[in-house]
């Protein structure tokens, strides 16, 4: 094997293993935290005891028994049920079973929540919610990313112009979260002007033909997407503009100008290309952000996505759903970071994997 190839293979393996270990640690922490370090067990045993008690005490045959006998029966049933759910084994031991299940993506069954089709499979519940979140946040984040980067570049080339100063002045608008603007948008466009829907993803009942259906979805998308944009666009443009401003001050940009290159070439080859690694990083991290959604925004707009699902799962102590969502996210994040390492080496000649700079 040529030395370059073996170096790359070694590095790739090394990265894959370290990233996997990171995922393991992250998922395990989530399992411990979602179970409140085992405290959830006590809550669940109490719930079982309550349910068993309620069931037995309405039985006239049981009512006839003496109190100590009733108590014994309840304890018996509770133990049986705990054994069935595996609650009799110590949590620390079970946490590792949860971990291996989570890592092998057998996400198991939800405790409380069900999918809209009635399934308890965590996988099905997640798969049902994902498209809604992906649609909303992919639209908003991609729009945000591309608008911000190009407007940022534009403004950095026109430093100090009216538009530039306007964006800088508007940047603090992003101090408030997007759902805050969402509430106002609903108030104005849904309640007052009655031109756009209050929330949801499609009108009820959903229109049959595909075209009408997508039009209805589009109409429901306008307000949440606008809320996300208003909540982030100015500060994002501002940071890109400052970023490009710093890189436009590089000597090689000045030199490109002296060489008489057109400003389009300067922007492409001398500003965008050297900063491509940073741009790609921001882009891919933004893409992963799409998967988690946003809890409050989805609730404000009654959007049937992963964010709202997580909220419900946390409220109901439904740990399998929480862990399921997190493990998928962790894998995606690790995969993205892994691919980013490769992408860096492709777009930036200064990055050579595996230490030694000389080819």
């Amino acid at each position: 094997m040529p030395p370059a190839l073996s170096r790359v293979t070694k590095y790739t393996l090394y990265r894959a293993i370290t990233l996997f270990l990171t995922v393991v640690v992250g998922v395990y922490l989530t399992i411990v935290i979602a179970n409140m370090g085992g405290h959830i067990d006590k809550i669940r045993i109490a719930q079982i005891r309550e349910a068993v008690g309620a069931r037995l005490l309405v039985d006239p045959q049981v009512q006839a028994l003496p109190a100590s006998e009733i108590h014994k029966r309840i304890e018996q049933q509770v133990n049986l049920e705990s054994q069935r759910l595996g609650l009799d084994k110590p949590f620390m031991l079970r946490s590792f079973n949860y971990l291996s299940d989570a890592l092998s993506l057998s996400l198991g069954r939800a405790e409380v929540l069900t999918s809209d089709s009635g399934s308890r499979q965590v996988r099905l519940i997640l798969v049902e919610r994902l498209p809604a979140t992906l649609l909303l946040f992919a639209t908003a984040n991609l729009l945000l990313f591309f608008v911000a980067i190009f407007v940022g570049l534009f403004l950095s080339r026109r430093y100090g112009s009216f538009l530039d100063r306007a964006v800088v002045a508007l940047a603090p608008v992003s101090a408030a979260p997007s759902w805050f603007y969402g509430i106002f948008l609903i108030l104005i466009f849904a309640a007052l002007l009655k031109v756009l829907p209050f929330g949801g993803m499609v009108s009820a009942p959903p229109p049959g033909p595909a075209l009408l259906y997508s039009l209805s979805v589009l109409k429901h998308l306008i307000l949440p997407v606008s809320a996300i944009l208003i909540g982030a666009i100015f500060v994002t443009i501002y940071s890109w503009r400052t970023f490009f401003l710093i890189y436009s001050a590089e000597d090689y940009v000045e030199m490109a100008k002296a060489k008489g290159l057109s400003s389009g070439t300067i922007e492409r080859r001398y500003i965008l290309r050297p900063t491509l690694p940073t741009i790609i990083t921001t882009f891919s991290l933004g893409i992963i952000g799409i998967w988690t959604g946003s809890i409050i925004l989805e609730i404000v707009f009654n959007w049937p996505g992963v964010g709202r699902l997580l909220f419900q799962a946390i409220g109901a102590f439904d740990t399998p759903v929480i862990v399921g969502a997190v493990v998928i996210y962790a894998y995606l994040l690790a995969l993205t970071v892994f691919l980013l390492d490769i992408a860096y080496a492709l777009v930036d000649p200064r990055v050579k994997v595996g230490g030694e700079g000389k080819p």
Partner: protein, 318 residues
């Protein structure tokens, strides 16, 4: 008198700062003949590099005043619009070897492409020919041809300097501005690069403006010398005379500070601090440091012609 290639008239470049207007280039006038080399010498911060930028119109954002005339082959290029200036002057007529060569090459574009780039931009030749031409200039400055495929960070300082010179020569400009071309290099590399520049000047008949704070290296190349002090040119002299008998008291001090071979005299230093360029006084700017000053020095001196030796901005030659 040989044909004039570049004539700079009353060129002013002032920057706006929080502490006031900085007059980095103040009413500077000089000429560069065809196939001539003009050395612009002076201390750090006297406005030499800003002068180079002013000629190429590479201005920072805080420009307050930018006036005067820059006549190239008789046309005042100061009057050209931004786009015409880019297409007709930059690199086609005037090119620049920058001061900070370390950062002047794009880190992610192969140097060969960067050298060939101006040719393609200005539609001088086809793309394939541009690579051929890049090879030619690489040979000219003594860089191995396989360096065409390398990136800037893979080159040593001396190689980058050669690369910058190759880039400056690629479009066959009539004037090359060298901004401290050897200041960041060790003496051996300095000597190599200066010899190379001398060869290029001899063989290719090109005009140079050599900006340097190093009097000794400037003497290698210069046909005439302009001395800058505090944003103004104080003396323009024939090189033959200048390096033996400079006219202006500042130039004399500058020459006295240069160590020489086979001489017992210790190099001198110039007392005092360089004058501030912020709101300078209306006297001779060198007067506070000048040991030869007299009452007239309270007024700003005009230029006095000194026959074939040059002209000097000092009352002693009135």
């Amino acid at each position: 008198m040989e044909e004039v290639l570049l004539r700079v008239e009353e060129l002013c470049l002032h920057y706006r700062t929080s502490r006031g207007i900085v007059q980095v280039v103040d009413s500077v006038s000089f000429e560069v003949g065809r196939n001539q080399a003009l050395a612009v010498i002076g201390e750090s911060g006297c406005g030499k590099s800003s002068l180079a930028r002013a000629i190429l119109r590479l201005l920072p954002r805080n420009v307050a005043v930018y006036t005067g005339g820059v006549f190239l082959d008789g046309t005042n290029v100061m009057l050209l619009g931004e786009e015409r200036f880019r297409q007709e002057v930059r690199w086609v007529k005037v090119s620049l070897v920058p001061q900070a060569v370390m950062n002047s090459l794009n880190p992610v574009v192969k140097v060969g492409d960067q050298v060939a780039e101006p040719l393609v931009t200005h539609n001088l030749v086809k793309k394939a020919e541009a690579q051929e031409r890049a090879k030619q200039v690489f040979r000219l400055v003594g860089v191995p041809l396989d360096f065409l495929q390398r990136y800037a960070f893979e080159l040593s300082g001396g190689m980058r300097q050669r690369m910058a010179i190759a880039m400056a020569l690629v479009a066959d400009p009539s004037l090359v501005i060298l901004d401290e071309p050897t200041s960041a290099l060790d003496v051996l590399t300095q000597a190599n690069i200066l010899n190379m520049l001398k060869r290029i000047k001899r063989e290719f008949q090109r005009s140079f403006i050599l900006i340097s704070h190093d009097v000794a290296t400037s003497s290698e190349l210069a046909d005439s010398v302009a001395v800058m002090y505090a944003g103004q040119i104080v003396e323009v002299s024939n090189a033959a005379h200048f390096y033996h008998e400079p006219l202006h008291p500042y130039s004399q001090k500058l020459m006295a500070s240069v160590p020489r071979l086979r001489q017992d005299r210790k190099p001198e230093f110039i007392p005092g601090q360089p004058a501030s360029l912020i709101n300078p006084a209306k006297n001779c700017r060198f007067a506070p440091r000048c040991q030869l000053r007299f009452s007239e020095c309270e007024q700003e001196p005009p230029f006095f012609e000194c026959g074939d030796r040059g002209r000097v901005k000092c009352w002693r030659y009135a």
